[in-house]
Amino acid sequence: MSTSENVGGSVASTNGKTAASAKKPGRGSKVVGWADERLGLATAAKKNLRKVFPDHWSFMLGEIALWSFVVLLISGVFLTFWFKPSMAEVQYFGSYSQLNGMHMSEAFASTLDISFDVRGGLMVRQMHHWAAMLFIAAMLVHMMRVFLTGAFRKPREVNWIIGGILILLGIVEGFAGYSLPDDLLSGTGMRIADGLVKATPVVGTYMSFFMFGGEFPGDDIIPRLYMAHILLIPGLILALIAAHMLLLVYHKHTQWPGPGRTEENVVGFPMLPVYMAKAGGFFFIVFGMSALMGGLLTINPVWKYGPYDPSKVTAGSQPDWYMGIAEGTLRIMPGWETHLFGHTLSWNIFLPGQVIPIVLLLMVLSWPFLEAWVTGDKREHHLLQRPRNAPGRTAFLAAMITLYGLLWAAGGNDVLAVLFHLNLNHITYFMRGAVFVIPILVFFLTKRWCISLQRHDNDKLLHGYETGIIMRSAEGGYTERHLPISEESAYTLTARDRDEVFVPGSGVDANGVASKDGKLDGIRGKLSTTLFADNIQKPTAEELEEAHHHADDEHAHEIEAGLDHSADGHQFDGRHPVDEEALRGKH
């Protein structure tokens, strides 16, 4: 420690006491110096330690996913100390007496041991499961936020795709974990997975046999899933999360438009200390929430399901929620099967089990490119769009969420039937039509809703906000006072681009460069019309000016007419200084 004075470098005092107090900064820089001489980190750190992150609650949704993944890693390591991924048959003599003496796989027996013979084992098992549900849910919510605000636009398309793959991997990872305990529900899940694989044309049977190491259920699937669950997929997820975060740091976070916030800057708080504290604190909160849920809420009580037995089943056989839409499509699919030249093609399984999920995923992943193609926009975007200012996109997401929700409900149709005294078969028939009709309805409703919100914004810009102050004119008519909104709010409302509808054959693309007519221009024009044609654009400077003049004229009129009034409310019009400035609020 005595050398620290030299490393600290700055203080060379004859006074021993002063030197001692200067040791503190010296020690820090000593460590930094040691590390930097070997790793050269200072160059990278100098930019990033005070990196700016904008503050908004919706920017923290991805963090929930990140932190619950960390919780999964920690709790998962704890579980591996006891879990035995083996399908060898053992006889159970543990603490859960209702299964005493039963034959079961070692995987199930060790899950029971974790639950009943390891203190805190059940809590960590449940925590792991809850955190898994939160992980995937948080990824989805995060993805919706990114989609709704247009944060996927250039230059972030690659990160959007990485995110989509992460969700897919998360779901596969979750399903693998759900299957490991080898209980009745997870075994039934594997049985369904086997059915899905077998329905693959041509190679399905072989895939199934290679997956299970022979005929279902075999004794290989759990060791194999275990490897995938604790090594392969988490490794991939970790690598992709790293790429996702690196790109986030490289691009810098998007931000909401507002006073002083532009496409060229990012306004917020520094990484050190504020975001370190906020993000770090949030980690503890996510971890704590998972622990609380693990301690208080039962999840996957495998001891009640019992070991997997291919001849047993329970009412309400469901997968975890994130598999709900696959389950829903399987349930509402009519029983179509084609028999051709001695071969069976099971559309009733192949379509919902393999084709539809892949089509949905590709649709979601390709959206940024589709939208960029339609708009012809090649610029970078770092300012977010309010959902209402992209009505077509918002409506598309609303329709997709509706579809997701309907399929989800269809996947739980038996539970819905019991809880709400409905007819199971009617729910299924209803869903068969609803998945086509309702999303389309929702699309148009949401679009109109967004557009009327845009109109409302323009009203606020042009005519001010509604004060709630009712004025009575000399003639006895009543009007409500409108007051102009603050300059900050007005700027925020106008800080968006104007939409342009692509007209095929116009020969000029969005950059004003003459373009040759593409084959797909017709489709592009139609899409552009659907997405942008009805949108309300922000007012021009002239319109704004005119509206204000108009308001002033009106005022002059009323003032003349109502001169004898002692207080007519005109003092609140925002153009006259008044005492109660607070009334203007933060509109």
Partner: protein, 360 residues
């Protein structure tokens, strides 16, 4: 912002484009903790209190860990497992208090002035890009990959060929399907026994309306020693482990007794496959293979709890609802030595569809 809008400004003058000028960052307003030393000290104490509360919870976790029993003498707390609840609550709160404390600290006491950073375009500078491209083409040029197609093509071929060992090496992941999916352990004379207990069934034991979950003899785990000894004398093979699971997932059946007048006979379900209204069907759904036994006594409709395919068991297992495409296979029954036995194996593969199913 204005640079990026030059595309649109072709159509509209800039002033029209941006009706309101950017007013710039608003002035920073201090928090009470910035200006009021009392508030500052209060916040400081609050943050510390959260950290102390977290410490207490961590200690309580350890206390709960050692005092609350699990296993045979599980302690309970309002009807819940006390250890689980206490460990989860103390650990959860210990973590949460740290989180809340740190965030409270950040919100109340850490620097609160918004700062800004300038962005740079995601792309590299023109110069960097040109240098990279130049380096790339120089490298390619020196390698001569474009000029020497023979080398290039054989190299690509060699690498492509490496895919073969990769695929071939996976061959031993599993056995080949062969004919196993088309066969079950049912054979002529195989006794039907009750699932779980493993006792054989006499037709007279079943009343109209009865449903029995049954197995071929040899596929049950919980029966008595005497039964096994007796069965082995008759040459029954008792399976266990993976063999048991594999066969059970194909051979499980349900046995029903209906009024013979309610049954509809057809080629799929001839009259001589039933005994006095007793019929046996595969318990494995033809959709994706869930075991099904949700039967309705009066309508004879059998529902799958996984995806709600419904089969009419009085009519050869016909599909009446849901995603299944094929009827449930029926097991032909007869009586031998007074007990119900199978006439033969199922006449078609049981369980979910697969590509080669029809080419049996």
């Amino acid at each position: 912002m204005t640079d990026h809008n030059d595309t649109s400004s072709n159509h509209l003058p800039a002033s029209v484009q941006e009706p309101i000028a950017n007013p710039g960052l608003p002035a920073h307003l201090p928090r009470p903790t910035d200006v009021d030393p009392k508030a500052e000290r209060r916040a400081e104490r609050q943050v510390a209190a959260f950290f102390v509360a977290s410490m207490i919870c961590a200690v309580l976790f350890c206390v709960a860990y050692f005092t609350l029993d699990i296993k045979d003498e599980t302690d309970t707390f309002i009807g819940l497992g006390a250890s689980n609840v206490a460990l989860g609550a103390t650990l959860g709160l210990a973590l949460m208090f740290i989180g809340i404390g740190v965030i409270h600290w950040a919100r109340k006491l850490m620097g609160d002035v918004e700062i800004f950073e300038m962005r740079h375009p995601a792309s590299s500078s023109e110069e960097d890009r040109d240098t990279t491209l130049a380096a790339l083409s120089a490298g390619l040029e020196e390698s001569g990959i474009a000029r020497r197609p023979l080398i290039r093509n054989t190299m690509l071929g060699a690498m492509g060929m490496l895919g073969l060992p990769l695929i071939v090496g996976l061959r031993d992941l599993g056995t080949l399907p062969g004919k196993t999916l088309e066969r079950t352990v049912w054979a002529e004379g195989t006794r039907i026994v009750r699932d779980v207990t493993g006792t054989p069934v006499k037709p007279s034991q079943l009343e109209v309306g009865d449903l029995m979950n049954a197995q071929p003899e040899g596929l049950v785990t919980l029966h008595s020693e005497e039964l096994i000894a007796e069965g082995e004398e008759r040459g029954v093979e008792y399976l266990e482990g993976v063999d048991l699971q594999v066969e059970k997932s194909k051979a499980s059946v349900i046995l029903l007794r209906m009024e013979p007048k309610d049954l509809t006979f057809s080629d799929r379900s001839p009259e001589n496959w039933q005994i006095d209204g007793i019929v046996a069907y595969s318990k494995i759904c033809t959709h994706v293979g869930c075991p099904i036994s949700l039967n309705e006594q009066q309508s004879h409709h059998l529902l799958c709890p996984c995806h709600q395919s419904t089969f009419d068991l009085a009519d050869g297992g016909r599909v009446v609802f849901g995603p299944a495409a094929r009827p449930l296979p029926q097991l032909p029954l007869t009586v031998k030595d007074g007990y119900l036995v199978a006439q033969s194996d199922f006449r078609e593969p049981v369980g979910p569809s697969y590509w080669e199913r029809d080419s049996k």
